[in-house]
């Protein structure tokens, strides 16, 4: 709604005054917004008004790029709700807009933002919002403290362009953030950012549950772990697998990509990295300075970064916190799937794999194994357990549960247990990016072909096929031999 319209309403009784008022306000507005230099606080007259389109991660609203300063209405509802944190694990999240992270807000430098924060009547807690894009006490927190069943409103001018975190700042602040109350607001510089092909929104955050990583059921928040900064989960977009597997980000070879990355914390700084990509440009900490040719960028808790790169090769790219145990053991793993044709000059793939024998020693021929004796299940199970822990558990986990969205489970795996070859073929050949479906979930990735003897493969499979609820007959060495020779 234009400013002139409000003058119109006020002056309605007299038609003459209406016209006069309309004309004057338009002229005033043009003069102020167009010709003169912005005042130190850049509180230029607001021309126009719209309600912001908010998007949920991984999506980013389209930049609107308008020439004048506008009033932007932002409506956000706080909802406390139980959602999935990982497979079989749920958590009572406190959310902006029903998701973790909260909605992406995109406005333009100089805009007047009118924010309406509603607290759902079914919530138990009061909530508020502190936007790092605000110049003012508490970033809006004091102005928006809202009891369940109420809506608070405040407005602010976005004077500084950049990418900013917003979060709840109601006591106890740490717990509100730890329960998922954070999101990003992008204040577009005047004139906008250069156009790219795809933009995505990712936000890291860690969760402190009473139960250990993977412990099933509704998990309560653990204050002691939060104070010690020892999370059970470190995730992108609010849950393990929220941006991998079926939910992976997707692009094509040649696409210019821009990622808006936030870190809600509450505690950990992120060593943000995309495996196999180099960022052409990084706006570190979401600021205005562009850094180039960066592989890993640090994102503080309560901070953000914009990274840009070009997809040169097809494949699946893992997006990780390169504080690497978080990625492989706690869930900080997203994926970007790039489709298109390979360029062998940029990336050859494996050209060859030959025997390496330092000192020129002659490879000793493995002695022909005359007999492949059948062993009882208990013996192969025991040997297999040790071999599994050494060779398999770092990915599939000692629990056999794998990692949702990234590593398929072995426990009660229909994919494994229904195979006519008992899984021998998988261990002999590995899996090379072929899409598979396990218990209804899709996976696509690489399982390396390990150098295991036929005896060892029989032991591992006997263990795997009789653990974590799986039950079947012993797998004997001669079965593996037979499969290998086919």
């Amino acid at each position: 709604m234009k400013k002139s319209s409000s003058s119109k309403r006020i002056l309605q009784p007299t038609a003459v005054l209406l016209l006069a008022g309309f004309a004057i306000s338009v002229i005033t507005a043009c003069n102020q917004a167009g010709g003169t230099k912005p005042a130190p606080n850049d509180t230029a007259t607001v021309i126009g008004e719209y309600t912001a389109d908010l998007t949920h991660a991984p999506f980013v609203p389209v930049a609107r790029n308008y020439p004048k300063t506008e009033k932007v209405i932002v409506n956000i509802e706080v909802v406390e709700k139980v959602m999935k944190l990982s497979d079989g694990v749920t958590y009572t999240f406190w959310t902006f807009g029903g998701t973790v992270p909260g909605p992406f807000i995109r406005v333009q430098e100089g805009d007047e933002v009118e924010l309406h924060l509603s607290n759902n009547p079914n919530n138990k807690m009061p909530h508020n919002i502190d936007l790092h894009a605000v110049n003012g006490p508490g970033g809006g927190a004091e102005a928006t403290l809202t009891v369940p069943g109420h809506t608070s409103t405040f407005s602010f001018r976005v004077l500084n362009p950049g990418l900013y975190v917003y979060h709840c700042a109601t006591a106890p602040v740490g717990m509100h953030i730890a329960n998922g109350m954070y999101g990003l607001i992008q204040v577009e510089p005047r004139g906008g950012l250069p156009k790219v092909d795809k933009e995505f929104y990712l936000m890291q955050g860690e969760f402190y549950t009473k139960g250990k990583n993977g412990a099933p059921g509704l998990q309560p928040f653990d204050m002691d772990k939060a104070i010690k900064e020892q999370p059970e989960y470190v995730v992108f977009n609010g849950a393990v697998g929220a941006a991998s597997g079926n939910n992976a980000l997707r692009a094509n070879v040649g696409d210019h990509i821009r990622l808006y990355i936030g870190n809600g914390g509450p505690n950990l700084a992120s060593s943000f990295h995309v495996i196999g990509q180099i960022f052409d440009t990084v706006f570190q900490e979401g600021g205005s300075e562009a850094n180039h040719n960066v592989a890993t960028t640090l994102i503080p808790a309560g901070g953000a970064a914009i990274v840009e790169f070009t997809c040169k090769e097809p494949g699946t790219y893992s997006i990780v916190d390169h504080s690497i145990f978080r990625a492989f053991n706690q869930g900080a793993l997203a994926q970007l799937v790039v489709a298109g044709n390979a360029d062998k000059v940029v990336y050859s793939g494996k050209i060859s794999d030959e025997l390496y024998q330092p000192g020129g020693a002659v490879a000793t021929q493995e002695p022909a194994d005359p007999a492949a004796p059948d062993l009882p299940l208990a013996e192969r199970f025991k040997q297999g357990q040790q071999l599994f822990e050494m060779n398999c558990s770092s990915c599939h986990q000692s629990t056999g549960l794998g990692m949702p969205g990234a590593i398929p489970p072995l426990a009660k795996s229909d994919f494994l247990m229904k195979r006519s070859d008992e899984g021998i073929g998988i261990l002999l050949n590995g899996i090379n990016n072929e899409p598979i479906t396990v218990n209804g979930n899709h996976f696509q990735g690489v399982m390396p072909k390990l150098s295991l003897s036929d005896d060892q493969i029989a032991n591992i499979l006997t263990y795997v096929r009789n653990s974590w609820g799986n039950k079947s007959l012993v797998v004997q060495e001669k079965q593996v031999k037979k499969a290998r020779n086919q």
Partner: protein, 262 residues
């Protein structure tokens, strides 16, 4: 002090007398209300350490002996009050005394509707309504100190190592159920009081007397002046109370009455 607090204090000074005029005749003797006889428990005098201290407060606070309702006021009990005091009907209550959600869980003015919530704590009531109810029975709302002191008592039969904050945080960890459970459904503490934590929030007389976020709260995250920085459960009670105004009604906020010992 921030502006809303000032305005609340002004309301406090100005409105209660008005509301007590609006609120029918003078308090009647308790015996007149046959259906409303929540047992009052004698809380012995004692000292306690408040969670949050104003600059001029002593660390230990003394609380005189008083009576406190064994459980929170139920929908059925509150219905008796509304029937006797029609100005507190949903359709008649002035917006000055309760916001739009007042008694919104009821089917009608004098009709709870859902039988499953008759013995559940009455919620969606404003401070004014809670205060009027207690006065109707010749009672009053407990003070913040009285409530915190009584609520700090451990659950009876609890394990020696049992931690009260676990019960409280357990309540926070679960979304509000569609049907609020009945009173006397959680635990009884060593004073004989039911559901002091884990069922609802409760109004106190001076709910806005300690400001958690006034002034420098955001810089210090409210930790300056707290007796126990790790007591997150207490942070939340104080934050919740602070977000309230006397006309507000909330689906998880009820009350119980207190009484002086004569």
């Amino acid at each position: 002090m921030k502006l809303p607090a000032v305005s609340i204090l002004i309301i406090f000074f100005l409105l209660p007398p008005v509301s007590s005029h609006a609120q029918v005749e003078a308090p009647r003797p308790v015996a007149a209300h046959g259906q409303v006889h929540t047992e009052m428990i004698r809380i012995p005098a004692g000292k306690f350490q408040p969670f949050l201290l104003a600059a001029d407060q002593k660390h230990e606070r003394h609380v005189a002996a008083f009576l406190l309702g064994q459980h929170a006021v139920t929908n059925a009990e509150f219905l008796q009050f509304v029937k006797a005091n029609p100005q507190w009907r949903r359709s008649s209550v002035p917006r000055l005394f309760a916001d739009n959600n007042y008694l919104s869980q009821w089917a009608g003015d004098e009709n709870i509707g859902n039988a499953a919530i008759r013995r559940s704590p009455v919620t969606n009531i404003s401070w004014f309504a809670a205060n009027a109810y207690c006065k109707w029975l010749g009672k009053r709302l407990p003070s913040l100190d009285e409530w915190e002191y009584a609520a700090a008592a451990r659950p009876e039969n609890a394990d020696p190592g049992a931690d009260l904050s676990r019960i409280i945080l357990g309540w926070y960890d679960h979304p509000t159920p569609a049907i609020l459970p009945a009173v006397e459904s959680t635990y009884r503490n060593t004073l004989g009081l039911w559901d002091m934590h884990g069922l609802i929030w409760e109004w106190v007389d001076d709910f806005n007397s300690v400001m958690l976020q006034g002034g420098n709260f955001y810089c210090a995250a409210g930790s300056a002046g707290t007796a126990n920085k790790a007591d997150y459960a207490a942070y939340m009670r104080y934050a919740f109370r602070e977000s309230l105004q006397a006309t507000y009604t909330v689906g998880s906020l009820g009350f119980r009455c207190a009484q002086d010992i004569k």
